[in-house]
Amino acid sequence: MKFVDYYKIMGVEEDASAEDIKKAYRRLARKYHPDVSKESNAEAKFKELGEAYEVLKDPEKRTEYDELRRYGGVAGEEFTPPPGWQPHAGSRGGFTDADAAHFSDFFETLFGNSRHGSHYSTASRGSTFAMRGEDIHYRIPVSLEESYDGATRNISLHTHRLDQRGQAVPDIKTLTIKIPKGVTDGQKIRLRGQGGSGIGGAPDGDLYLEVELTPHRHFIAENRDITLILPISPWEAALGATVQVPTLSGLVNLTIPANAKAGQKLRLKGKGLPGKPAGDQYVVLQIVIPEVKSDADRALFKDMQEKMTFNPRTRLGV
């Protein structure tokens, strides 16, 4: 197993006081808490931090850890405890505040027994041991088309089950999941009883899926509404036109009013993601000026320049 440097994880010196360690823990816990931080490795960091604090906040465990560290532990390198090494802190057989189910092998070998259960659970720990299965949280990428049409998806979940000896062993669960129509970014989906298995007759945990809408080439989703930037020519803008516009349900005809302005927003009611009510599609007009490529092109613009009175800068007063 690899040696884990708890002082480094907490960013404190070896001689840090209990007060300093507590302060460092609180600061880093706020930073890496998975409900607060958006960093992808926040959960791993938070667990690592919890483990480090579990050892360093306890004077006995800390003393033992310091001994091992002096014995030659270097972060990330292979480490074997000295022959005959026994923990004195009495952590075996007793439960501590933190749930050790997700602690490293290093911690398990040195300080405690592996226990099964939800990371955040504070369920009953009596002699008749029963614990609800862990809730599993999972992010699931969904394209806009899949949200619009609905989709079926197979996912593999890493979970735990108990073997014959009552040891928690890793398990892989494969589920076929129907993605409901009209799911939006960040939406949570619950599958009851599809989380980790309960112990001692306690119910199984739930599976929570968080939808992550993948970016689309043209459509920009915000909740159930879709925005599309629609390029039009100056004459379509000036004279009005009917143009074809892509929507999630295919092409539709859109009437552009005469004297349309750049940035003008037109609404296609109910053309967003399905739901009650369905979202709308907004079309934002973008006026694209054609590149002048020939003398004839240049002549057309010259003609406008000479014949039209137009000051685009009246707003600026110049």
């Binding site: 609180r26 892989i172 589920l175 999941i177 989906i189």
Partner: protein, 112 residues
């Protein structure tokens, strides 16, 4: 390893579905006193005037769980949890708006 395969119909956690206090407690594996305390301090905001009429949305299950974790892990008191959750939610909604606007700007300027 024991791969199991089933087709499952999921529930979307929305603001619309209503659970009463007892159902909500069962879903959250929580005792009523704890839930009542969270309602009093504004962590949870069920519809309905009094306890007997309370209706919790499915979304508030997530909020309850987050509140439990924040309080346990960061040692924040419940009014602080309520404030944190409100701020986290408004940050999330602002981030969505920013992403959407950035993408609109990108397309308007890039125009490819």
């Amino acid at each position: 390893m024991s791969p199991k395969t089933h087709a499952h119909s999921p529930e979307i956690l929305s603001d619309s579905v209503g659970y009463n206090l007892q159902e909500f407690c069962e879903l959250c594996v929580a005792d009523a006193q704890r839930v009542v305390e969270m309602v009093e301090l504004g962590v949870l905001e069920p519809a309905g005037e009094n306890q007997n009429e309370w209706r919790f949305s499915a979304y508030s299950i997530m909020r309850f769980q987050k509140a439990q974790r924040l309080q346990h892990d960061l040692e924040i008191d419940l009014p602080g949890v309520a404030l944190s959750l409100d701020l986290l939610e408004s940050i999330e909604s602002l981030q969505k708006q920013v992403r959407s606007l950035q993408e609109q700007i990108r397309q308007l300027l890039g125009s490819k």
